[in-house]
Symmetry: C2
Amino acid sequence: MTISEIARMAEVSVSAVSRYMNGGYVSDEKKERIRKAIQETGYVPSAHAQTMRTKRTKVVGVVIPKINSESISRVVAGISEELSKAGYELLLGNTGNNQEQELRYLRIFDQNRVDGIIFIGTMMNKEHEKLLKSIQVPVVLLGQQESYISCVYHDDYHAAREMASLLAAGPHKKIGFLGVPARDKAVGKDRYQGFCDALREAGMPVEDNRVLQGEFTLESGYENARTLMERAPDTDALFCVTDTIAIGAMKYLREIGKQIPEDVSLVGIGDTRMSEMMTPPLTTAHYYYKTSGMEGAKILLEKLKNPDLPDKKMMLGYEIIRRGSVL
Amino acid sequence: MTISEIARMAEVSVSAVSRYMNGGYVSDEKKERIRKAIQETGYVPSAHAQTMRTKRTKVVGVVIPKINSESISRVVAGISEELSKAGYELLLGNTGNNQEQELRYLRIFDQNRVDGIIFIGTMMNKEHEKLLKSIQVPVVLLGQQESYISCVYHDDYHAAREMASLLAAGPHKKIGFLGVPARDKAVGKDRYQGFCDALREAGMPVEDNRVLQGEFTLESGYENARTLMERAPDTDALFCVTDTIAIGAMKYLREIGKQIPEDVSLVGIGDTRMSEMMTPPLTTAHYYYKTSGMEGAKILLEKLKNPDLPDKKMMLGYEIIRRGSVL
DNA sequence: ATATTTTATGAAAACGATATCACTATTTTT
DNA sequence: AAAAATAGTGATATCGTTTTCATAAAATAT
């Protein structure tokens, strides 16, 4: 079905049908004839033909590092909810944490297909900056803070600092840190900084042999917990930059017979569904992942409506959730 | 940048550029001039204009009930991996388990935009059947088995049966069942049937007051465990149709002081990441979620290449994972 | 030497919508 | 009563590609 077939059926011009669809002048009789023809045929205009003329796709590209991650899928759920409310579709670019793929998707989305882009960032570097600055369509960055772009991010520094203070305020003497590389500014750098400042404030040292970096996985948490405990067996508290890492660590600690929290206290950040279910349940900072997706989508939609709007930064808070994993 | 600007720069016809892009006859000199022009300008053809002529979008629509669910996001990861290998993009339709939305997305995707559809089904009914049969583009159904369509599904009946047999073979006398409504054929009906048959085979009754239906959530598992234990306190084993339900139930059982597995044994199905981390770790059936996404994508891609191919059915196996939650 | 196939070329017609235009008829404002 | 604004109409150009077609030179087969 095309617009001209409808026009022929309703015995009106193509223009009239187009106006009918888009709310222009059409007399009531013609309106009725067109309505009937559309209803009979189930006609739906071709989105691609519309895009050709209007340059608008009603599609937003979403670039993510990994879809099967709880935090990310929660963000995507928020994005999806807001976008579909506004009649936008969502084109997914799953990069597998590969920078090549990230840049590739950003480029593809820019050159074609989408009206705007939401980018869940991890490691941001100069190449990202250059590309993002050159992109024609509006972009919103999620999870990281960068000066040159609209973004929605979490208060990683204070969440980590408060979390670490909580450990430092307890009876712990030797606090270890399981992190990720500092290339990830939000998780690797800011949370580490918050941790360091909290310890310093409490008059405790940050000992190099109790600080490790790894990946965002249970396995990495498990392995790094082992490395750390072998290297520094007297560690009595473990600060993990994500809940997933913490739960991996918890598994290892249990295996070597450490009691949590009696022998080793444990904290994470993010508050995954899993954390509440652990024995003991994990003390962590609740992050508003879904909200971040929703807010990011809203910012993008505003910019889509009015491209002259300046960049917008939004920092989301957190909530310390005290559970049984800390003495 | 458009093809005609490139043509002008390279001093060739538009047709020549098009042939250059698509591998037709172009002399070497012209090839070189075109190559240069494209390289200088960074020209990329408009996907929408291409679609207009060719009717091919290189996009696959994926309709899912809920993105922030571990099993589903694992399926989507598999889909995404295979599709992007083949140069396809992925348009997401998140329905929030709402049938209206499901049908709406299927229709939108059909009428426009996509070359094929992957549909992660839950409750399938006559309306789905009617719509799916009328859809023009190839569709693959995931997670459910239906006669009229290509599908990839799990061996729910045998997984449940084997799991229940495992409970029945133990010292348990009173086995409860936490399920979901039978409208979900795979999870609600087949798993229940497997459970019933295993009990019957072991000469044990399926008692109505020990059988409950709920939703796919931790909360529902928690609540239904409460209802069941209040109604039938002597229950000494609990068969849950998903790990998530099992973990919700585990939380309740712990709260009322029941020891797992000493007082109550517990099993789930699906093998989420969480299950391994619980105390005790959950006995369950590992499901190949990511594989199901990959295989579904492959079937779709084949059909895209050759639309005359007959429908294909694929049943994936499972692996019983014995952990500490069963006596 | 002739016929056929292969290589090479560009003009022009699609694809299916919207936007612009020119025009008329009616209503409202001055 | 005249001028201006509002309703209503359809032809046509346009968006950026690919496809078809007509044409011709070069290579290959007969």
